[in-house]
Symmetry: D2
């Protein structure tokens, strides 16, 4: 399970571009961490909402994949993000968790935590779909 997620994560070149690292994979929960960096910010110096979304989306997607049968791949159908606080800080943790695993669709919830302050800066609810690996 962990290997499948790790292999797929390694193919997501955008995670490397962001400097995001896969921290843990358990059945139905995936953790990704990210360091704050000057080239990842919006106009006020906070992490851009697209960066937050990217890592929480990957955490949710891989949480879903961790519950899917061998040979499956995962794609995001849709997600909704609420930005609770400015994403300020030097280190961030994205956690994705499966809420309901179905045969076709899996619903996940995720969050982004600013580790310096301990604040949850964003919440995601996402729908993932299981597809046959291309």
């Amino acid at each position: 399970m962990g290997c499948r997620v790790a292999e797929s994560f390694a193919r997501q070149t955008f995670m490397a571009t962001l400097g995001a690292t896969l921290v843990s994979v358990t059945a139905g929960e995936v953790v990704i961490e990210l360091c704050g960096r000057e080239d990842l910010v919006q106009q006020n110096g906070f992490l851009h909402a697209g960066v937050t979304t990217a890592v929480v989306d990957s955490a949710c997607g891989y949480a879903a994949l961790s519950m899917m049968p061998e040979g499956a791949d995962v794609l995001s159908v849709e997600f909704k993000v609420n930005l609770l606080s400015p994403a300020a800080g030097s280190r961030f943790r994205a956690v994705g968790r499966v809420v309901k695993a179905g045969r076709t669709l899996t619903v996940c919830q995720g969050e982004m935590i600013a580790l310096d302050s301990g604040k949850t800066v964003a919440l995601m609810t996402a729908t993932m779909i299981s597809v046959t690996r291309p």
Copy 2:
């Protein structure tokens, strides 16, 4: 109006990291373009949903800002993205449009178009808030 958006866009270092360019700013509509790049993809070689979200979010946010009074800044409150098709291609256009401009909150809708195929690959609905510039 265009200058205010252009100045703020220039401070969003993440847009430069993605290679995104601000193409046009009119009252209530902003266009941002992006080239496909190998370091921006998910596990199947399509643009990562976080990249798509980043540029459509910026397009929507700046569409909202384009309608706000002088001295205002814009922050994303929340957004919802539906991923309609894999984001395949060499060039992408994000369009953000104001649907309802209020004193405090502005609702926008945006889309990401894969210019090679002409397909809309993602839709966003976003709520933006007007804040006093820090």
Copy 3:
């Protein structure tokens, strides 16, 4: 196509409870209308957001069903609603439209219009799933 939607709509007893009527069904677009009523309101006398959601959700679901093969039924996977203005007035029109019809999932957008003022009071984006009729 219209008959299938009309038959299903007639089984949605909640539409009768609300006094909602199916106005038109074309391929990919469904219109439902509703009269304002004193027993459908929230604390300020405006239509309750749940009423608005119900009729726009049905309009979107049936727009999706109108594009599905014979023998299919439709279920809502998820939706997102932005409430743009208080739903004031005596008559309302919900319009649901298919944005992307897929084999399994269909994405729709809908709106609720207050016919007295002509204002769009709510926007919906919804994901519908095609299931075998039970």
Copy 4:
């Protein structure tokens, strides 16, 4: 606090139309219950998603109101609902909880539980706004 919510709930005539009852109000959490009824269903006899949305939206809105200063009223800005399972059963509980209370905006999460099965049938994330009572 409880009285303010109870008074407002009593003015939501739609809650009476649904037969929904306010069960508990504590700081940041509100519970509403509802009995299944034949006039509240969709085409397969399950509770209509609009009914579920209505009661979870009211639970979230009043959870937000429970944290707001005297003289405030609450309006829903937007919400997103994921329908996890068919809403089958004779009795349902909607729980709304404040996730982040701000001066202007409050973010809530809610769920609908089918009490017969114990299943969570729907999840909501909602943004509420504090307004001066009209």
